[in-house]
């Protein structure tokens, strides 16, 4: 197991959320992103663009600054 920020996760990579910055918690739990949830990276936009992840079957896009506040455990 390796820890990675969501902003550093590669295309097609999956991981389990291990930590979410306190500032962000109440903003993304409503979108289904919580500690213990499995995320899959499906789109990384260039030039510091947003990332799109799949959580529980739902596509969710996050700005890169938000993605930096989420830590995943990846294989």
């Amino acid at each position: 197991m390796k820890k990675k920020k969501l902003s550093e996760v590669e295309f097609n990579e999956t991981g389990i959320v291990s930590h979410i910055d306190e500032k962000l918690k109440n903003r993304i739990d409503v979108m289904g992103i919580r500690v213990g949830k499995k995320l899959k990276m499906v789109t990384k936009q260039p030039i510091k663009g947003p990332v799109v992840v799949i959580v529980e079957g739902a596509n969710t896009s996050l700005g890169l600054d938000l993605a930096q506040m989420i830590t995943l455990e990846v294989d």
Partner: protein
């Protein structure tokens, strides 16, 4: 009494609205189409009841203008019942909002909309179990074809507030 259609952006609230009132509110395939609200009237058991199409919101803690409108509408309306519309193919995130509304003491019925999409994706949902756990009516619907709409309207009659503690007990948690 008025009835509020609430749910995430892009789950089909406006299609419901059109179905229930016979209006033709704009529908489009991108989220955030409804940024102001639309009001109409529907008939329940011979009575005319106000129906409000609320902008999509992810939670009751607003993060933008449309969400602010949504939350204010809920809080300002007196004697309301809420139809919480959930995308059945993404049920987990939708239940979060449903629980928030239930927790604030509003009578809720849940429409598991886009049931056809969930079926195509082989997503199986035990509606009876979900309804038992939540203590509110749960109806599978496909708003664009009209499936389940009648059952949903019928279930509104019996909608009552539910204690959130009961739900927590039903899922085996401790309060």
């Amino acid at each position: 009494m008025s009835i509020l259609l609430m749910g995430h952006p892009n789950v089909g609230k406006s299609v419901f609205f059109n179905r229930l009132t016979g209006a033709s509110v704009t529908e489009s395939n991108y989220p955030g189409t409804t940024i102001d609200y639309t009001k109409g009237y529907m008939r329940i058991g011979g009575k005319s009841v106000e129906l409000i199409d609320v902008p999509g919101t992810f939670s009751l803690n607003p993060k933008d203008k449309a969400e602010e409108v949504a939350v204010a509408m809920l809080h300002e309306s007196k004697d309301v019942k809420v139809i919480c519309v959930i995308d059945a193919s993404k049920i987990e995130r939708g239940l979060f909002l449903a629980l928030e509304i239930i927790e604030q003491g509003y009578p809720v019925v849940i429409a598991l909309n886009m049931w056809d999409v969930a079926r195509d994706k082989h997503i199986k949902i035990n509606i009876d179990d979900l309804s038992r756990i939540l203590g509110v009516a749960v109806v599978a619907t496909t708003a664009i074809s009209g499936e389940g709409i009648k059952d949903l309207v019928t279930s509104l009659d019996d909608a009552r507030p539910v204690e959130i503690d009961n739900i927590i007990t039903n899922v085996g948690g401790s309060t």
